[in-house]
Subunit: 87 residues, 5 copies
């Protein structure tokens, strides 16, 4: 689990059926200084309505992802856990 | 599992219901020299009462996290296992 | 889960039986600038028909992989989730 | 799974009950040259009796860890698999 | 899952009983150029007969490892999936 900023999203017509209707965000991790973001973007399924520029809490738990998508055989692992409150 | 220092916390109003009432800590890893901390902060759920500056033992086990939260469908993975004794 | 480009494939005669008939792609991760790819290639099972040069969404979920392969004891973890639409 | 050297241990009074009586080792990974160790220490539960300076085989499997600890809800993931024979 | 070269093996007398009779290989990852290998060696259980110098496909799936070893409580995670065909 970490905190990152939404830097964009991805679209895919050919995909696993469990992702139908899901928003796929590209998220980059918050660095140690607590302000800059860096690294490779991770692909994250969002059901909470996060948008570009939001700071989000993301997790890699596959069991929780399957519950969230209501699909027992989904291969999705990364999902948005929460949207960080603005300070 | 690793040892790290609590460097802050995060708050989130829009979040997965299983995290209601949980404290979300930002933890940075202890480095090889056994004293300095560095790297990107990891987001960790705490039920043991760790505070800023404490050295904590953290783990990424999702099954254990779901037991700790009493919620079978939580996507939480990282939790505080223990607070390291001060020397 | 991340986005990467298919840079090649691998063949193997001596292998786990659950991978029979599967295409094994070598995928390199999209970098933070959203254009270049870099890093070590990951080995990914594909059932969606991705080819060399395609941008694909990949995941490391073992439970989803076993469903995709129709094999309860497969040790496969990385699979292609979707093919990113061309812009 | 990797091979590393035991560089110390950690103690914790406030901890998850499943770790009661367990030795918590700090282990650093063997590098590519097969001799030096480096990187950040990982925290590993040991039931095999490894001591400081020993080369150990470590694994991150949570299901195996729960069996080893005899506790279905333990969040422990990293355990000592074996002690490498001295050459 | 990735492709790597077998650079050696490890032996251990004191170990988890599920590993009895297993060959433990040290494998280093294939780099982005598709020819050189680098990084820290990973410890991998092999049942396919790979030898030093072979290019192997390796995976970190614990459920598949337990099936391969015929042992429900093994903490092993990394296994050899296949031996890459020589070109």
């Amino acid at each position: 689990m970490y905190i990152g900023r939404v830097v964009g999203h991805a679209t895919s017509t050919v995909k696993h059926p469990s992702m139908k209707g899901c928003k796929l965000l590209l998220v980059m991790a918050l660095q140690g200084d607590g302000r800059t973001i860096e690294g490779d973007p991770i692909l994250v399924v969002d059901k909470l309505g996060a948008g570009k520029g939001d700071m989000v809490m993301v997790t890699s738990d596959g069991i929780g992802a399957r519950e969230m998508l209501g699909c027992k055989n989904s291969p999705v692992r990364w999902t948005v856990l929460g949207i960080r409150d603005k300070r």
